[in-house]
Symmetry: C2
Amino acid sequence: FVADQFQAHVIWFGANPMLPGRRYILRTETDSVSATVTALKHQVNINSFAREAAKSLQMNEVGVCNISTQAPIAFDAYKDNRSTGNFILVDRATNATVGAGMIDFPLRRADNVHWQVTDVNKGARAATKSQRPGVLWFTGLSGSGKSTIANALDRLLHARGKHTYMLDGDNVRHGLNRDLGFTEADRVENIRRVAEVAKLMADAGLIVLVSLISPFRDERRMARELMEEDEFIEIFVDTPLDECARRDPKGLYEKAFAGKIANFTGVSSPYEVPESPELRLETVGHEPAALALKIEQFLERRMEEK
Amino acid sequence: FVADQFQAHVIWFGANPMLPGRRYILRTETDSVSATVTALKHQVNINSFAREAAKSLQMNEVGVCNISTQAPIAFDAYKDNRSTGNFILVDRATNATVGAGMIDFPLRRADNVHWQVTDVNKGARAATKSQRPGVLWFTGLSGSGKSTIANALDRLLHARGKHTYMLDGDNVRHGLNRDLGFTEADRVENIRRVAEVAKLMADAGLIVLVSLISPFRDERRMARELMEEDEFIEIFVDTPLDECARRDPKGLYEKAFAGKIANFTGVSSPYEVPESPELRLETVGHEPAALALKIEQFLERRMEEK
């Protein structure tokens, strides 16, 4: 078979759980590609062989997954050929082997879905607006000031005749991502969907402002890799945790410190600081309007570079 | 409790399976609201009480679900109060009772997600483009000509200086909806996500062209109800099945008739004809360009009405 989607049995070795939506490196005898578990169909109870519902796989657990690779790979079903029907999964950050898999069968869904070519393309749409489409990805702790700065920038760009859209992580949770909670697996899927929508909006010619805690490096990298070269602008809104907790605009830190909110970034869940964001904004001692202006100047230079 | 999301045990009575994402009427002792099962967490095996993975509930099956109601309702946990802790689910089309439920506990997710007010709103964005945002929803059989007509209209509107975007169902399946297949449950979720993205794009001031088979009345109604009044324009691309099969641009009907594609609309899965679309286009004997012009004239009248 040559395909980019298949079903497989996966045995998980990683210390961190296997999360659908997160990207891993998939290695077969002949190929090495970026791959995502698009669905964990069920976990297999290794004592009773019962099919149990699960959202992630912990160490030593076995699950049946749909896997999607970035490019098609050649393989056989494991039952037909053990050497061409197996693979390993490697963590992109640590390079550790985190899982092993046996391929069950290819999924044909992509076969019957042809890409519809649209005549009016991104260039044509962007040209009519004299702007360079892009995705401004604001990351930072809750209460760091992401939405406030994004809002100030939105006003500024709108006043200069740019066509923008603000995709706020909180707002999307009331619609598109209404079915998602705050577990690690759901947060990964939340970020994936927001990134895909931002990509569609950039394709529509817009300057998209995304305001999303997005605490994990891996998901921010996933979002970056979805976009075209130079289209993703990571803006790290750098506010110390104690300052965020002091501002606490939504009263969430107080609840989090009291143990009333699980998986709260910075308190009961980690925030991985961006290593090389396009912009890093220190908010302590700086007005949102001044920071917005700084971003606008960055965008103007970017426009000239083009 | 007063909440708009909770977990419940549901017993399904309906002849059609319970599908996450589809809307039902939820009735408690005191309330009657539109409700959606946002997630089927697992099915309960009624012999062994094991938690089994499932994507839908068939008749007489029991599942643990997250349910989201359109407005908050007052309730108790079933274990605390049997009369204020239960509800029934009613099919919106037939008015038949299709399920009964016992509430486990409220979900607090919405509590901690505040709506971020954005300063630049839809009106401001649309005003700068002298256009009325909207969602043109093309529905019809595979091969009916939806994408061809939408593409012709897209070119026409672009030439007149309108800012449009085409959301093609097939293309979205390569990105945002990559994790979804073609089962009924997955098709409902596919349409829900496309509708939510179309809503965001209309909110960005765009005229959005959605080309999607969308065979079920209920999902088209769901899409319509997501949008503002008069923002949803349903366009029924009316081509007889035998004509679609004769054109067969993607070679899919041949495969479907040979039984090689499951759940193929018009062959092995129903297409529910729109009852009162804003526009109905007969394609036999009419050129796509002429049909596109007809839509454009409809939009011009709509713009004047405003």
